[in-house]
């Protein structure tokens, strides 16, 4: 045999270290300023984080895509923010209330709120995200039904609420209730390989962020820009929609939106972006 075991050994070492033999395309070194607010797109990772630096997915996108997000007049996601504002102020349901009836001006009352979700829901004894918090209000206070997952209004309202925290750093309080144990479950899932292709979240977004899968420049898979305006779909895409899309792409059965698994994953993945600015609505490819 021509090839010695030493070569096989070298191959193993290369794979183990995840060192590509080809050049890695680094994320850009550029500043993101939206409406005169400078976004934190790179920051030191929190304690216990596997990476040294957390980075916004914005740094991994093409120049045109980055510019689209930086200009609020061009960002297609801002149309959904406007729709969300209309829904916020619209009276709906038997109680004759709008969101604004109780929460007044979202620019004041919702500022910073989206940066701290998911939170612990003591009633449901599980984490609650913005979508589920809206549903809780609709059912308990407005006499309405919960939104169907990914209903256009759900996405618009979530986008609007998150947008009130534009520029605020993501920060979760894991000491609330049992949030820490959900973080633990989320971490477990992040590293669990699924599907026929046998990929975990970490396979692409930790071990290979910065590399390309075909035309897709792999980011760290951060949640700080969700819901995002995704050019591929020409629509707003919710975090749980993207979770499901990624899991489906591993050729696995997909968990339901807002299921225990995906809520745990939302807690953990959001934490991985601690310190990044909320960028909603971000623009991605």
């Amino acid at each position: 045999m021509r090839h010695s075991l030493a070569i096989v050994g070298l191959g193993m070492m290369v794979a183990a270290l995840q060192m590509p033999l080809t050049a890695q395309a680094d994320p850009v070194d550029d500043a993101l300023v939206i409406d005169d607010i400078e976004m934190v797109t790179r920051t030191k990772a929190p304690e216990g984080h596997p990476l040294d630096e957390v980075r916004s997915g914005w740094l991994y996108r093409e120049a045109e895509t980055r510019e689209l997000e930086a200009d609020s007049f061009q960002n297609p996601g801002m149309l959904y923010v406007e729709q969300g504002a209309d829904i916020w102020n619209r009276v709906e349901g038997p109680e004759g209330k709008s969101c604004a009836s109780c929460h007044n001006d979202a620019a004041e009352t919702m500022k910073g709120v989206g940066a701290n979700y998911p939170k612990w829901d003591a009633d449901a004894k599980r984490p609650i995200n913005i979508e589920l918090q809206v549903d809780k209000c609709r059912v308990e206070n407005m006499g309405l039904e919960a939104y169907k997952f990914d209903a256009a209004e759900q996405k618009a309202l979530t986008t609007y609420i998150k947008n009130q925290s534009l520029g605020e750093p993501v920060k979760l309080d894991l000491s609330q209730g049992e949030l820490q144990s959900w973080w633990d479950q989320g971490k477990e899932l992040y590293y669990t390989r699924t599907g026929q292709l046998n990929f975990a979240c970490a396979s692409c977004h930790e071990a290979n962020s910065g590399q390309y899968i075909r035309a897709d420049h792999l980011s760290q898979g951060q949640a700080n820009g969700f819901p995002v305006y995704r050019l591929k779909q020409a629509d707003m895409v919710s975090l749980h929609n993207r979770f499901r899309g990624c899991i489906r792409d591993t050729r696995a059965e997909t968990p339901k939106a807002f299921s225990d698994e995906l809520m745990a994953l939302e807690v953990y993945v959001t934490w991985r972006g601690t310190g990044l600015s909320v960028e909603t609505p971000s623009v991605r490819q």
Partner: protein, 152 residues
């Protein structure tokens, strides 16, 4: 016509879960010294078919992760794995067969490369894919035959 017959046979095997007399079942592939000596299908591979499997996004989709100077006409080569240029200078066909069939047997559990002829897969495999391999035995042979042509 021969090619069509072979494709039909491969399709039959995948759906029926039965095996050709000469075909090795995914759980019976013999890895020895990071190599698999025998053809998985019992047949020789066809490098022309292998090139198609290599780039087809629904089959091998190898280009998603590996650059290939021989396929410059196709846009967007991935960089997750090493480039395959000159791969035949670095590995014997039997080693390439092992890597394509189940890379974890060669590089260890940490590699992200899927096992294209392996049933050792991730959790919650999509219902319609349970018990199925990504590629058929013959498709692996075709890819191996193609890779064996990549000399610098």
């Amino acid at each position: 016509m021969i090619k069509v017959t072979r494709l039909l046979c491969a399709a039959f095997v995948m759906h029926a879960g039965a095996a050709f007399a000469d075909e090795t079942a995914p759980d019976k592939v013999m890895f020895e010294d990071f190599a698999v000596q025998a053809s998985l299908s019992g047949q020789a591979g066809d490098p022309t078919e292998g090139a198609k499997v290599f780039k087809d996004r629904g089959l091998g989709n190898c280009l998603a992760c590996h650059e290939n100077a021989g396929m410059k006409g196709d846009l967007f080569h991935g960089t997750v794995g090493p480039a395959v240029d000159g791969v035949a200078e670095r590995w014997e066909p039997a080693q390439l067969r092992a890597i394509v069939s189940d890379a974890k047997q060669v590089f260890g559990e940490e590699t992200v490369m899927p096992g294209f002829y392996s049933l050792k897969v991730g959790k919650n495999v999509a219902k319609d894919l349970v018990g199925k391999t990504i590629l058929s035995a013959q498709q692996v042979e075709d890819v191996v035959a193609y890779l064996a042509t990549l000399k610098e």
